[in-house]
């Protein structure tokens, strides 16, 4: 398989580049700098944050920021696969909200039947993962077998998922019973070795994602489909199955993120997960993945997600600019970081 995929175009481009640049080794260095774009951006941002408010560089603040990044970060890892394969999923925020709502309803319902809050929480967790996988499967099947554009399929479900949550919650909030909330709370608020649980989960998902993308046949197929679907098909890659699997993976990631989200507030409302899809997509793209697919990096995605929440954190820790301009600052930083890692296409 791999020999068949050696890209003659790339060899050509490489030799042409070597011919025009006399200094050997110049290109890898430049490439490394570009790869480091998001990290450079993050480091600069952290320096700015520390200068503006020394409290920024405290352990507690770092833990706060990383913990709140966990939801978007985990979703972004799944989103990275979908985008690399040439797809997109706009529904993740609504999906997270609906899964959160369903989880809460199921847990409230089974707790008295099972008589044990721990068992109820476990049931809720399983439900979250199953629902995520099922929603992802539905997306994948509609996109591949139904031949509908991913943008349209997930735009449709974006509305559907949120409308159902609003319907179930009657426009208000679905709230976890107190006893359950106390049992479940440590999943968000607890810590192991001084580091909050959500950060560990985020790390585990990121490591698993990086391994899957870079070290397995599945990961290479995903990249191959994203760079040229026709060629991948001719090379006997089961394109439909691989694509469906990327959406299922993303659905499971959304399920995992929701597992961590629900214990935070113990409630889901129609404003839960609003605009998460854009934050997740922004994290992936800021991290150096091409929106047109074909190539991408999990490390970059993780850095991108952290970068986005660091901006909000710095703005909250200072009051040098008008609160009305917060969104503009985020916009400027996204564009600057994208500029730092340009030319990767």
């Amino acid at each position: 398989m791999p020999p068949a995929l050696t890209d003659p175009m790339q060899d050509l481009a490489l030799s042409a580049d070597n011919a025009s640049t006399p200094k050997r080794g110049g290109k890898p260095l430049r490439q490394h700098l570009l790869d480091a774009g998001p990290i450079v951006g993050l480091v600069l941002l952290c320096i700015v944050g520390t200068v503006l408010n020394p409290d920024f560089a405290t352990w507690d603040n770092a833990m706060n920021v990383l913990t709140r990044t966990a939801f978007i970060g985990i979703i972004a890892v799944g989103m990275c696969f979908v985008i690399i394969s040439g797809g997109i999923d706009l529904s993740v925020g609504s999906m997270a909200a609906l899964i959160a709502g369903c989880m809460i309803m199921v847990m409230n319902w089974v707790a008295p039947l099972l008589g044990s809050p721990v068992a109820a929480v476990l049931v809720g967790m399983v439900i979250a993962l199953l629902l995520g996988a099922a929603f992802g499967l539905a997306h994948g099947v509609l996109i591949t077998k139904g031949r509908i554009e991913p943008f349209i399929v997930t735009l449709g479900t974006l509305g559907i998922f949120r409308a159902y949550l609003t319907y179930f919650s009657n426009g208000g909030a679905l709230t976890l019973d107190n006893e359950l909330a106390d049992t479940y709370g440590p999943v968000y608020y607890g810590a192991w070795l001084g580091i909050p649980i959500p950060i560990w989960v985020f790390l585990a998902v990121a490591v698993a994602g990086a391994g899957l993308l870079n070290r397995t046949r599945y990961g290479r197929y995903v990249q191959a489909i994203g760079s040229n679907e026709q060629v991948a098909r001719y090379a006997a890659v089961a394109v439909d199955r691989i694509k469906i699997l990327t959406y299922v993976l993303l659905g499971i990631c959304v399920g995992v993120a929701t597992l961590l989200y629900v214990p935070r507030l113990g409630s889901a409302s129609p404003s839960t997960g609003l605009l998460w899809e854009l934050e997740a997509i922004a994290a992936v793209i800021v991290g150096g993945t091409a929106l047109k697919g074909g190539q991408g990096r999990i490390v970059g995605t993780v850095v991108g997600a952290v970068l986005l929440s660091v901006i909000g954190n710095i703005l909250n820790l200072t009051s040098i600019i008008s609160v009305y301009l917060n969104a503009a600052v985020q916009g400027f930083v996204i564009i600057v970081v994208a500029f730092l890692q340009r030319g990767r296409r």
Binding site: N64, T166, S169, N170, G171, A173, L265, P270, V323
Partner: protein
């Protein structure tokens, strides 16, 4: 000439159609409100539907159509549809936003529909027959006065604001105006939590990182108060002695009722104002009495003494 004739005929038809309807007091009322996207609007939808049932029973023959809209543009279309398709003669509308809905509402009013605007006034007041609203400056003022008293006139306050809108500005301005009279109280900062639990959680976490001594939080909304309280619990901070929400959700009124040590009060800005507007309008239309041009529903302080009066367990909000 042709056009004038046409308009004369259509006017005659309109009078023929609407005049008998008035004689029999058969009201066709359209109610247009924003969709239930957060707790407060969820309450609006609940009260609108509940009042529809009440009024249809009270005034037999009356039909009331409740529509919800997800955006200002959708609401504008809806208002037109209500007039052309449902042939309403009365419109009660809680506009998504003031400016974009002024023209569509004015058009409908121009066709003889009686218009009551709720909560968010139109930019051109001549587009409405009556205006029913909550008291936003009062909301900020009542909150600030209570907090100043509860804090004994000194201490540090942080403020969470809503979505940047006129409503939010009026509340915060009134709050700050009262606080100016209490030099012992320092308002440390005011950031937008967008009336959203998650955003409020993040903003409060960062306030707690930034300020070592916070005596009270004006969360200015019960949804935001949920996020604020979670953040305080997580940070294990005991310096915050008072969290004041607002709008009067059932959960927070219950807390006040049960004597919660931190949530000792709430300030009303009830979504049931849509119900008041519908009732006032229906009464004015059926009996033919004039409705006051402006009705302000005051923001009231809820404490342990009067909480049970405002507690509606059935409401989703």
């Amino acid at each position: 000439m042709n056009r004038r004739l046409f308009s004369a005929i259509s006017l005659a038809i309109a009078t023929l159609v609407t005049a008998p309807a008035f004689a029999q007091n058969k009201l066709v009322m359209g109610v247009s409100v924003p969709a239930a996207t957060h707790g407060w609007t969820g309450g609006v939808v609940y009260w609108a539907n509940r009042t529809k049932a009440e009024l249809e029973k009270q005034y037999p023959g009356t039909s009331i159509i409740v529509k919800t809209a997800g955006s200002a543009a959708e609401q504008a279309n809806q208002v037109q549809d209500l007039q052309t398709v449902n042939k309403i003669d009365t419109l009660v509308i809680l506009p998504f936003e003031s400016a974009p809905l002024t023209k569509p509402v004015a058009q409908v009013k121009g066709k003889g529909v009686y218009v009551t605007v709720v909560d968010r006034g139109l930019t051109d007041p001549s587009a409405q027959n009556a205006y029913v609203a909550g008291d936003n400056p009062g909301f900020g003022k009542v909150a600030a006065e209570y907090m100043a008293k509860a804090m004994g006139g000194k201490g540090n306050v942080v403020v969470l604001r809503g979505i940047p809108t006129v409503i939010d500005n009026e509340r915060v301005d009134a709050f700050n105006a009262v606080m100016k009279g209490h030099p012992g109280i320092k308002v440390l900062d005011a950031k937008h939590g967008n009336w959203n639990r998650d955003d409020a959680f993040k903003v409060m976490q960062d306030y707690l990182t930034r300020f070592k001594q916070i005596d009270a939080v004006w969360a200015s909304d019960d949804d935001m108060a949920v996020g604020v309280q979670k953040a305080i619990t997580q940070a294990k901070r005991s310096d915050v002695k008072l969290v004041l929400g607002g709008a009067g959700s059932k959960g927070y009124i219950k807390k006040v009722m049960d004597g919660d040590p931190v949530v000792t009060a709430d300030v009303t800005y009830s979504p049931s104002m849509i119900a008041d507007a519908m009732k006032l309008t229906a009464e004015a239309r059926v009996t033919g009495k004039a409705m006051p041009g402006t009705t302000i529903i005051p923001s009231v302080l809820i404490t342990k003494d009067n909480a049970s009066k405002y507690y509606v367990p059935d409401s989703p909000f």
